[in-house]
Amino acid sequence: MELNNSKIKIKSKNLNVYYGNKQALHNINLEINNKEVTALIGPSGCGKSTFIRCINRMNDTIDICKVDGSIEIDGKEVNDKNVDVVTLREKIGMVFQKPNPFPKSIYDNIAYGPTIHGIGEKKDEMDKIVETSLKKAALWDEVKDRLNEPGTGLSGGQQQRLCIARALSVNPEVILMDEPCSSLDPIATAKIEELIDDLKKSYTIVIVTHSMAQAVRVSQKTGFFHLGKIIEVDTTEKIFKNPANKMTQDYITGRFG
């Protein structure tokens, strides 16, 4: 039991989310394993993104959004009033659907996070952080000679890797990815997937994706969402080879959604 518990990084219990009068998530119970990739699949508007935004409390920024129920990270309640969102988000990086680098230099994009958390105050320390973050995001070789050029000048795939590097710069434990490849071409997508595979050695990753193939390629565990409810969660292999639920079966074979 003890061993089993430590394997679980994030655990949601009876999580309900409302946007105004509309309920977006119904009683979500989900466990996300440590240092593994968990893919969340399901048709658009089913609540996958809402769910991962609950993990780092990004939904706080939406006025009409109300969250109830519990999400625990390492056994600690996220929705607790005493939790400081800044510290929480330092621990949980996020990568968005559309690459959103700051309109600053590549260097400053990476350096921003550490700076506000007071890490790497010396120039050479910061240089090191920037270099390691970019290396982890497999972008270093492409940009090492132009760190002072604007991050927005990179190609879409490079920008997304820059955003991943930015998320890594503050040494998070969890990385949330909200359809990170939806605006990228297949080559850039392949690179990101390769990267995810690499990153799962040191980070817990939750990825929302519309691509079944991507879920199969990168994840160990898959959750299928539909209309704000979680229909089925299991190992990726089981979900795609032998799903227990008829709806899951229909969705992954492309019969709806």
């Binding site: 330092e90 968005f96 506000i116 955003c163 710069s169």
Partner: protein, 420 residues
Amino acid sequence: MTKEERLKKRHNAEKRFRFYGLLSVSLAVIFVLVLIQNIVSKGSSAFSRTTIAADISFNADLLEIEGPITKQSLEEAEFYDLAVESILKIYPSKDSKEERQVLRLFSPDYEYEIKRYLIKNPDKINQVASVELTSSDDVDQLNKGNFPRDLPEDRRRVSNFQLNIYDNLVEEGKIGKKFNDYFFSKGDSRDPELAGIGGSLMGSFFTIIICLILSFPIAIMASIYLEEFAPKNRITDFIEININNLAAVPSIVYGLLGLGILLSVMDFPRSTPLVAGITLSLMTLPRIIIPCRASLKAVPPSIREAALSVGASKFQTVFHHVVPLAMPGTLSGTIIGLAQALGETAPLILIGMVAFVVDIPGTPVDPSASLPVQVYLWSEQAERGFVEKTSATIMMLLGFLIVMNFIAVYLRQKFEKKWN
């Protein structure tokens, strides 16, 4: 309707629309050109002034200076007798009536111009020197060709006798034209040739600075708070609606507010840039808040999410990312708001800035005019000299507005960062 007919109709509609568009654009351009041509043709002559070279004999006895001649003693000396004696020599006159006419060829300031000349060239004492004196407005206009000479004498401001002297002076090459530095350096005057926008320029400058100091920080803080931090509820909706309403309130109402509260209740000094600046900043505040909020709103939410997701606090997100990105729009909104304030006349009239002020204000609490009010004041004067000065002041005012708008556009283009 057949397909061909429909197609033809569609093409015709397009052509008609193009024609109307072109027509309205050309009409607008023609109006602007006529306006500018009118102002420039009337006003450009105000930038030069006519001078008459007169041989002045600096007879020390006439200055009645006791003791050695120093700068100090010259400053205190009375130059009137000396000036009149020398000036009358430019043309022989029979009687005192004619003498008066000779003197009236010069601006009433000749006495001081001669004094300034001697103070600048003290070695000319007891010598004769040719000094270029400013001519009266009548001679100035005559020289600029604005007075018809063929009118009967009683309908002219310049008598035949004066005309005769003028022609003589022209022949002798004593009439000159100089850049009109008085127009920029002097305050208002009853004599057009001595009137300048120096005072109203400083008045406008102080007014705008006070307006900027008061309205910019308040507007920025208010818009950042309302846009980024304030909860969206009925109270903030109500505030937002009222800000929009305030921006549409006629400016004269703010003038009444300034009169009623600043002057009557709080007893601030009347006719001063301080009161004008406060009044105009009330007017400008909503006009700056609206573009500021628009430019904050234009910063894509993805930037906010990016900052929040690396663990920036709300405050850090706003001040490290959103505000710098919104800055170009904010600044250009502010400049355009200030440009509007610079051209505002009605509220200033109510708070007493229409006063006739000769002295150039040195501080914001000195009585002063402002550029648009100066235009208003001079446009009521009958003298031809004030007509050209009115237009010249409008040119200056338009120049400032164009420069400010240009800076606004430049800031927006130069510093606006592109994001995808």
